[in-house]
Amino acid sequence: MRKNRFLLNLAWELKNLFRFPFPEILLALFTFMVFLWSPSILTGNMVLGDMPWQYITRKVAIFSAYWTGFYSVEAYLPLAVLGSIFATLAFAHEIENGLLKVHLSHPTSKRAIFMSKWLSCFLALFTTLSCALLFFAFLYVPQNGFYMVMNSDMVPGILVLAALETFFVVSVTVSFSLFSRKASISLVGSFATLYIVKLLSERALTFLPPASFQKQSSSMFALSSSPFANFFGLPQFFAVPLFSAVLTVLSYVYFSRRLELA
C-alpha cells in the first residue's frame, strides 16, 4: 500500500512538537490570558410576558460567544511568541542546519513538506487556543451550556475566530521564517512584526489585528437574525484573512520554486 507521505510528515512534525511540553505551555498561557479579563456588564431591556425562554437563552449564548471572541485577543501575544518559535523551528532552523535537505532527499513532494510543516504549526496553536476559548465560553454562564450547544452557530463561530487569529499569526511567522532563512532573524523579526502590528492597531489602525478580531467578533455574534449584522463591514471582515492567504501562497511558491539550499 502506498504510504501517504504528507500524513507521515505531518505526524512526524507533530510528534516533534509534542515531545516538548509546548502544548501544555500554550494551554496555560492562553487560558490565563483569556480568563484574566475585566468584567463588563451588558444590559438589555426585558419585555415581561413577551419574551420567550428560547430568546433569552439565545441572547445569553450570543453574549457568551461575543465575550469569548472579544477576550480572545488577550491571547495574541502568547500566540505571537509561540507562533514565532514554531515557525522558526519548522523552517528557518532546518534550513540553517541542513535538516531540510534530508527531508527533500526523501521521495516526497515539496508541497507535502511545506503543508505538513505549516499545518503542524497551525494545529498546535489552533487546538490549544480553541480549548481555552471554549472553556471560557462554557464557564461564562455554565447554566446556559446546553443552549450554547443547541444554538449551533455559537461553537463553530468561536472555532472560526480562533482559526482566523491562528491563520494570521502562522502566515506571518512562516513567511518571515522562510524569507529570512536564519533562525535568529526569524524568531526576533516575526515576533517584532506582530508586536508592532498590535501597537498600531491599539493606536489608530483598528483594521489591523488584534483589534480587527474584536470587530469580527462583533460581526459574527450579533443579536439580529442575520449573522453579519453590519453588512458594510464585510470587506473589513475578510481583509486580514485575505492578507494571510496571500502571504501563505507567496511562502509556498517561494518554498517550492525559489528556495535554494546550499
Binding site: 487560558t31 480568563f35 468584567p39 456588564i41 438589555g44 431591556n45 426585558m46 425562554w53 464557564l139
Partner: protein
Amino acid sequence: MSKARLTLRTGIFVAIIGLAILLANVASRGKDAIASWDYSLDPNGMGAQLLISLNYGGHEIRLNAPRAFKGVLYILDYEGIEKLVADGTITPVVNETFQGSTLIDFTLDRRGPYAVIVQSNVPNEAQVSASLLEKGTLRQDYLSDSEIIITAGVTIAFLASIPRMGRFLKAQTVKGSIGTDKTQHYLRRNRPIHNLDDN
C-alpha cells in the same frame, strides 16, 4: 501515542486549564464594573432589565426615583428568570421595598444572567433610573469551578497511570525475587560435573 499516554496527557491538560483559571481569578480580583439603565413604569406596572452577566460578590444598586415613588426591587437569577417566563411566578434572590431614591446592597453567590425588576406601587407613570456597581473581589464560584477542573484532570491522569504503576510494581516484585532465580540459573549453568572415575 498509546491510549494510556494520551489519557495521561489529557488529564494533565485539563489540570493545567484549571490551574490557569485559578491563577487568573486570583490575579484579576479587585476590578469593579458599572452598568446603568432606565425604567419607564406604567401606573402600578413593572419594568425589567436583563444583565449578562453579574459576578459573584457584593453589589450596590442605586435607584433614583421621585420622592413620592413607592416600589419593590426584585432580582432574579437564571432559574428565577426561567420560572418567570414559564408561568409568571417571581422567585427573587433579592426582594427590597423602597420609597424614593435608595441605595441597596446585595451579595450574589453565583455568576450568571440576572433580571432586575422594579415593581411600581403608585397609580402614576414614573421614570426610575438605576446604576449598579459590581465590587471586585476574589470570585469564589470561579475558585470552586477551577478546583473541580483540577480534580477532574488529576483524576484522569491518575487513572491513566494505574496500568503503568501496576507494571512498575510487578517489575519490582520480580526484581525482589530475582536473586533466587539468578541463583538457580547459576546453579543450572555451573553445576559440578561428577567424574565417574572419582566414585
